[in-house]
Symmetry: C2
Subunit: 340 residues, 2 copies
């Protein structure tokens, strides 16, 4: 039989009340008592029954995901995963919700964060681009005891907050390696398309990308980034025009999540198949692209995994536990037609 708190009290030579004080960090306990209890815990291998703890505390957790309002298929995917997790965790006293706010204005984001009630929310996962205001607001949030996760995006990593997402330098480098090896020894140019180069994510990916191309594939030349700003029609025109004018382009790298915007239109004008096309994130568009060979590889971070990871981290922090790092690391996946 598994030792209970009562057994622990006996083993420590103390009363249940004192053991309870030690276990739950209550005041008025002597150091000696703490030592005795901890020693006994080790000795008899006591582990608190989490079910009993949860029941007795009868506390539920409230976490909120804050996502951007604008975004394409990947954002939709993400929201769906949150909603799935929501349904899945409902039983375990974990309430999750999603709100979407306009994240382009740092002041608005900061204001939103400052208005979050710490009596209501135990944890916040935010997906928003880098900015000093937001960073400060996050700091204040954390000081108020709200557990915070930087979610899949942007902030310069805060040492005090947890981060869920991939290393974007490595993601860019991975894309570069795939393109370099897929193109072969043939010299040529690589077209790089982004939604915007303002965001930290884009900058990091581009940096990692250029770095690997220049070092390992010097016969390839990276063109300056084209920015779509989410404008589908304009993007299609620009991409097509550049492709026509530069017949020596051998590859396209879309480093933002919404590969559909620059590619769907362009595919109507130009046959993308001869080009090596690498994009980010698995979406219905990129999946179909892989299937019919218009896209050669997708660099992805699993949104479901990311969401569950963020939730696990917030839960662990709310219980003052360390998150389990190995499980919560998000991998940079390489998707081909064959391993979809």
């Amino acid at each position: 039989m598994r030792p209970t708190a009562k057994d622990l009290a006996e083993a420590a030579g103390l009363s249940l009340a004192t053991v309870d004080r030690v276990l739950n960090d209550r005041p008025n306990v002597s150091e000696k008592a703490v030592r005795k209890v901890n020693e006994a815990i080790e000795r008899i291998g006591f582990i608190r029954n989490p079910a009993a703890v949860s029941l007795a505390r009868n506390k539920s957790y409230r976490f909120r995901f804050i996502l951007p309002t604008t975004g394409d298929l990947y954002l939709a995917e993400l929201i769906q995963r949150v909603e799935e997790a929501q349904a899945l965790m409902k039983g375990d006293l974990v309430d999750i919700d999603v709100v979407q706010i306009s994240v382009d204005d740092p002041h608005r984001v900061a204001k939103y964060l400052s208005e979050i009630d710490e009596d209501i929310f135990d944890g916040i996962a935010l997906m928003a681009p880098e900015s000093p205001q937001v960073r400060d607001a996050i700091g204040r949030l954390i000081e108020r005891g709200i557990k915070f996760v930087q979610f899949l995006s942007g902030q310069e990593k805060l040492p005090t907050a947890d981060f869920v997402g991939v290393d974007n330098f490595a993601a860019g480098a991975t894309a570069a390696k795939i393109i370099g090896r897929f193109v072969g020894g043939k010299p040529g140019k690589v077209l790089v398309v982004a939604e915007t180069m303002q965001s930290l994510d884009s900058i990091q990916r581009r940096f990692g990308f250029d770095n690997t191309i220049n070092r390992q594939f010097p016969h390839l030349q990276c063109l300056p980034s084209i920015e779509t700003h989410g404008d589908e029609r304009r993007a299609a025109q620009v991409v097509s025009r550049i492709l026509e004018r530069n017949q020596d382009i051998v590859s396209i790298y879309v480093l933002s999540a919404e590969a559909r915007i620059p590619l769907e239109g362009a595919a109507a004008f130009t046959d993308l198949r001869p080009l090596t096309v690498v994009v980010h994130e698995r979406t219905p568009f990129s999946e179909n692209g892989l299937r019919d060979d218009r896209i050669d590889a997708v660099i992805a971070q699993d949104p479901g995994h990311a969401v569950r990871s963020a939730i696990r981290i917030m839960r662990a922090r709310a219980d003052a536990r360390e998150p389990y790092a190995a499980q919560d690391k998000i991998r940079i996946e390489v998707l081909l037609k064959e391993n979809l």
Copy 2:
């Protein structure tokens, strides 16, 4: 406030006792009562508090992983992951252990399975090659109420058991795609090395591999599989000799998990860097190989993920719940130097 069983009884217009009978499938309940309770569950959104259930049942789960005795680095990795999970789940009334048995003799495996006490174990995860005897033994195990997971290996998928692992056809195809694209248009031969071609896994991978090479890269020619049978010295000799004799070999594909055995020795004789080398499973050896460019890509299935997945599935089955498929699917990962 979240509705409790008491609220449910009230909403259903029945007593708590009857509600309990319905919730736990006890005998002597009228169909009308069942209907009323289910309707009320929907109406008030009742969800059993899992913590309370767990506490009241006060049942702990015992699961066992049965792994082969022989194996190289990947097996070691796997065992370590199980032990991690063991420590991690200890709190949640889940006891896990690992045993290693000689899986080459189907009769022994079948005998081992038949001797498992269903009063002690709630679930078994087995990693063993395909054979009719074992399949039958699994069937009997399941009939005795033990939840069973085919773990990372070999049985023709039983419709009655769960499977954790990747699609080996796809894994082989993925390796083929990587090799085909990495080699470029250059014609040449591909050396395929396996520990043994007896196992279903090897056969499937080889099939997927050949299929993709022949269709998409007809300028590459796959050589017959070389089998190492785990013999490091002999493997090194054979591989080196073949490489010397066939100067037109452009690529090596190691389709078993222990890439170290055929490659480590061969690397001493021959410089592998000009060749495109693709192996399976992330191990210290394959990681190092990626880092110093002796290996170009690793096709992997995350052992930690696999172990946790198997445990989640066994738990879910033990509670007569459906496992959460999306989370428990193992992905075919493509690892490059850049996304390690």
